[in-house]
Amino acid sequence: MPALLAAAVAVLPLGYLAIRAGEGGLGTAVEVLVRERTFWLVFRSLGLTAAVTSACLVIGVGLAWLTTRTDLPARRTFGVVAALPLAVPSYVAAYAWISAFPGVAGFWGTFLVLTACTYPYVYLPVVAALRRSDPSLEEVSRSLGRSARATFLSVTVPQLRPAAAAGALLVALYTLSDFGAPSLLRYDVFTRVIHSSYRASFDRTPAAILAVLLVVITVAITVAESRSRNRGGTARLGGGVVRPAAAVPLGRLRPVAVGLCLAVAAVALAFPTGSLGYWLVRGSSASLDLDRLVSAATSTVGVSLLGAVVTTALAIPVGVLAARYGTRTVRLVEHAAYAGHALPGIVVALALVFFGIRFAQPVYQETPLLVLAYAVLFLPVAVGAVRASVAQSPRRLEEVSRSLGAGVWTTLRRVTLPLAGPGIAAGAALVLLTCMKELPATLLLRPTGTDTLATRLWTETGAGAYAAAAPYAAMLVLLAAVPTFLLTYAQTRRAAQSTEDVDPQDLMEGGSR
């Protein structure tokens, strides 16, 4: 079963953690777990995750609604701009804030930066869901006398719930596993402590025990998310016509809405890119090694594309199974796929160091192992996209194909995958841009002598050469903006043409169903 291969890849770090955490015996584990510090870590991590996720839900759903369902001026532009913060790595944003306002360190700064960098994970799938949902339900509600607000809350929101929940899950896992922002902004959460635990004691047992605790929390969150998901079918089984909904007039609130959109864009996009620009100008005296920049950009794109393709290939079996067969084993495999996503990159990297050097010596510190690390880290992003797009394609077509004598594989190849193709490609694009920004695993597993933009950025800032770092950061944001832009642009165009389009797919699913 190819799905089992994917699951095996995903649980590699868990095996490693079990070995390392077990080394100290039960005594050490209990001792680490009952520390007062551990309690505070759980409290702070969960608090931050809850706060960031809630804020992302409000901002993501709000912007999605404003840019798809209202008469917001320039809403097409706002629609694209709202997705672009996805291209800004959280460590770049964190650095921009802390260097300009040292006072933002701590909870609020971390909250601000993580919210600004991750709300597109909610925004994109919700936009897709809004475009896909049938506006006639809302029209019925309005015609029966409900106000716009009541309609939004009682009709629109329930339709968006699966998409928003899947996006929120990605936000929550990102917040739990991010190291760059909490570390730069000095807010003690799990990942920061796991890192400093490696540094502090060079004893990997306490770090591993904390990481196991993190995995347990993650599994609890993913299980909660899948419970909240509506298990009913959501495919539009023909008949329905996707047509643009009538725009809700904002009236006197238009300036307020524009102000809110501008504020989000200013905080999440303009400020970090603006400070990059400032460094670029200030650093014009610093000599720029163009060869280095180009070679780092090339290898970034190279390994990230490989990462995206391999991750998506592994995600297809899991996603198809999850969408079509809701058995217990399948659900277990699906949850396993999420395990890697919540672990800090350093843990996944060390797990692959451990297994790589023992069982895969020839590819140790070569591209294949690095690509495998990306697959472990980002499998859930792709699984979500595959599952969503397969679930939304009518099962009836597969049944027709089977009844006409095509085998399981032929049906998969000729019916299921082509139907789900755009959604899967969107998932791959999302993985691609996430791989580009990845740092800790890349640092430990890259082929010796190879640099990506993220590792060069790390080198320059480590030497205090912020001006010299700016071109790498700018290039990284630019490159990551390409898949982000394609994701939203393609989506917008499809919506514009959708009057005669009965295709139930939408480009960006991000895990909704």
């Binding site: 510090r37 802390i98 040292p102 060079f202 004893d203 010796t448």
Partner: protein, 353 residues
């Protein structure tokens, strides 16, 4: 029905760029071997794990390649991550040399039995304070903790001789520090070793009550002192020298001040190197360490990174660095800097994070 076929172009682009990536990774393996040195008899590539920043040491390691006469490859990452990676790799590691910027990491690898004992002829080049007692690593350069100060705000700087004076009322809100920085942690560890857990906790609690200003790193602390936002800053000496080198003497209003030799606030930590016990090129590795202690390499540290040379008789031609021997009357065992876990726990307890 319209459906863009994104998958195909993505696949094609992947194939192309992955080919490109393969070819670039192959072209990065070092230059042709040089047959001048004796260690060239050993086959293979000398792999250095460097926890020191690429921008700072790359030119030096290129010289090292020429001097030792074998191919050299360098992996750069942070000192602590590389130490953790080496501990995971164990005996299977292909690394031959670990080059780190914190004695604690070297101590941890030595304790785990991963570093080979170095020959007396190598360790003998360095004073006892700056090498492992069992000869498993040697320091390659020194870095001192200093007080950066704003001369306008602290005209009385010469009266400050110990860190306890920072606890006086006139310095409330006036001291900048970098709580997440490894060299600040090393200072606190030295404080613990010197004064015991309770003594250290007392100092840290009093310090926290002084409303010290936290910054992201040493550079940010120095910038704050230079800009007059704080009067004093706890930093490493070379940040000031590098800033002066970049902006000129007139461009930097901040100055630095050394505390008394026996004060924990004057700790001299080191960057150092050791040979992995699992190396398959022991001779080339030993020669590489010897090179790092050679006059050329020591001069490089003194002139380029403004660090203290650990070999006697080398003076910086660009920076006014006192000889290291005059700084270290009361040095602790640097191996003990690996007890960072307790340090971080203590900092967490008193809320200095």
């Amino acid at each position: 029905m319209r459906r863009p076929h994104l998958l195909a172009p993505v696949m094609a682009a992947t194939l192309l760029t992955s080919l490109a990536a393969c070819s670039t990774s192959e072209s990065t393996t070092g230059s042709a071997p040089d047959e001048t040195a004796g260690a060239a008899a050993e086959e293979g590539t000398l792999l250095i794990y460097s926890g020191r920043n690429e921008n700072l040491v790359e030119p030096l390691l290129e010289q090292l390649e020429d001097a030792v006469g074998v191919d050299v490859e360098v992996r750069y990452a942070s000192t602590s991550e590389l130490a953790a990676q080496l501990l995971e790799e164990g005996d299977a590691s292909e690394a031959d040399i670990f080059f780190g910027q914190d004695a604690g990491a070297l101590g941890a690898l030595a304790k785990a039995g991963m570093l080979a004992e170095l020959d007396e002829s190598v360790t003998g080049l360095v004073p006892e304070t700056y090498r492992d007692a069992d000869g498993r690593w040697v320091a390659t350069s020194g870095r001192a903790r200093v007080l950066a100060y704003d001369p306008e705000q602290v005209p009385e700087i010469e009266d400050i001789t110990e860190i306890d004076q920072l606890l006086e009322p006139e310095y409330v809100g006036a001291v900048g520090y970098a709580p997440s920085n490894a060299s600040f942690h090393a200072f606190v560890t030295a404080l613990r070793i010197e004064r015991g857990e309770d003594g250290a906790r007392q100092w840290l609690e009093d310090f926290a009550a002084q409303d010290p200003q936290a910054y992201e790193n040493n550079n940010a602390v120095l910038d704050a002192v230079d800009g007059g936002q704080v009067a004093l800053g706890l930093i490493n000496h070379y940040y000031w020298f590098q800033k002066v080198a970049e902006l000129g003497e007139d461009g930097v209003s901040a100055e630095i001040h050394f505390l008394d030799n026996d004060d924990p606030g004057a700790l001299v930590n080191v960057a150092g190197a050791g040979v992995l016990a699992s190396t398959d090129m022991p001779e080339a590795a030993a020669e590489a360490i010897t090179f790092l202690l050679s006059d050329d390499a020591q001069q490089y540290f003194a002139d380029e990174t403004a660090e203290y040379p650990v070999v006697e008789g080398i003076t910086s031609s660009t920076f006014e660095l006192e000889p290291l021997a005059e700084l270290d009357s009361h040095q602790i065992d640097l191996n003990d800097l690996d007890s960072l876990e307790e340090t971080l726990g203590l900092l967490d307890e008193v809320g200095l994070t």
